[in-house]
Amino acid sequence: MAIRMDEEATIQRCKEGDMTAYRLLYERYEQPFLRTAIRMLGRQQEAEDAVQEAFLKLHRGIQNYRSGSRFSTYFFRILINSCYDILRKRSPASSGEFDLNDLAHHPSDVTGLRVSMQEAISSLPERMRICFELFAIEELKMEEIAQVLEVSIGTVKASIYRARVKLRAWLSDSQKETTE
């Protein structure tokens, strides 16, 4: 509740054009936004462009934002739409080039299971993958995901449950392979 009130004050300052308030929003949303955009677009440069575009759209539309709705959902939806805009503008030839290594590799990652997990998630169908990532990695509630992606809560639930079944089968196989 305190965070929400803080955020409302920050948004009010953003409406007045206060750049330090935008900086506060940036500090709060930078990481979840970059992670989500990289997962959707596959490339860090494009992910940064999407985050920049999301801030620009927020700046242009912030006077219309009403404090009753949840800001994080509103802002996430702007980001997701910015990612879709970039995907739409992409040439078909470059759409298959993905580089998720930056996201999965980590100096402490000795087992490689984390990399395999990233690959397993990446192999899920697009909507299923995005729903699962927002739920399991960014820890958004299912209702929030439905609002962010502008789909029904039923679609979100079905996507997450189906992703769970697929990943369970993948993990079970991986664990069997390592014990054999």
Partner: protein, 226 residues
């Protein structure tokens, strides 16, 4: 063998607490429950920081440029006020300027009236023509989409579930985009930016339906050959 309770859990008919209670008595479900926990903790481990050292400065620059572009009117007003204050302190008193300004305004107003009277309203018509053309193009897209829907949507019944799910979601997203554009256009029909978005969304929907039709045809062909 899969436990019926696991199937219910996977369909979302059983919540996590209920399933956990059941899993404590059922070895197969216990294993599934353990795997789910592992998946969530592995997923959380993917949540790591990404370095983007120049991103904030880029955003700040964009926002500041945007603010500067928004404020020239305000700046001009304030400069004008300063200038006026300076001017009024000299020999140019407002009392002397008022009649001159009134005469000038009258001359400018009359000239503008005659100018408008002799002008053909070509520029307004051009905008109207362009709008009509865009609307015509949108109608063509809508008709093509309607035709494609008639053929493509029945094909989905014979597709793999994953593919159906994927296409259905894609169409749902595009429809939401189209609805958003229409909502924005209801306020300003001539917003070229939104028109472009709408056109892109319509094109996207047409392409997606064509993809569905294609995928359905390929499936039917392979079924016939086997």
């Amino acid at each position: 063998m899969t436990c019926k309770e696991l199937e219910r859990y996977d369909r979302g008919e059983l919540d996590e607490a209920e399933f956990e209670r059941h899993a404590s008595l059922c070895p197969a479900c216990q294993e599934a429950f353990r795997l789910d926990k592992d998946i969530l903790s592995l997923a959380k481990a993917l949540r790591r920081n990404i370095e983007a050292p120049t991103l904030w400065s880029r955003i700040q620059e964009t926002l500041q440029n945007e603010q500067t572009a928004e404020t020239p009117h305000a700046t001009a007003l304030s400069m004008d006020k300063n200038r006026r204050n300076k001017r009024f302190s000299g020999p140019w008193k407002p009392s002397r300027l008022v009649p001159a300004v009134l005469v000038l305004a009258g001359v400018v107003g009359l000239s503008f009236y005659f100018f408008l009277k002799n002008q053909t309203p070509s520029s307004g018509l051009l905008a109207q023509n362009a709008l009509a053309k865009v609307e015509q193009k949108e109608m063509e897209y809508m008709e093509a989409i309607k035709e494609l829907e008639k053929q493509a949507l029945p094909q989905m019944t014979s597709m793999d579930l994953d593919l159906v799910f994927l296409y259905r979601d894609r169409l749902e997203t595009i429809d939401a985009q189209i609805a958003r554009c229409r909502e924005a256009l209801a306020m300003n029909q001539a917003n070229a930016h939104i028109r472009r978005y709408l056109m892109a969304a319509l094109q996207d929907k047409k392409d997606t339906l064509a993809d569905i039709l294609n995928a359905g045809n390929v499936k039917a062909k392979s079924r016939r050959s086997t």
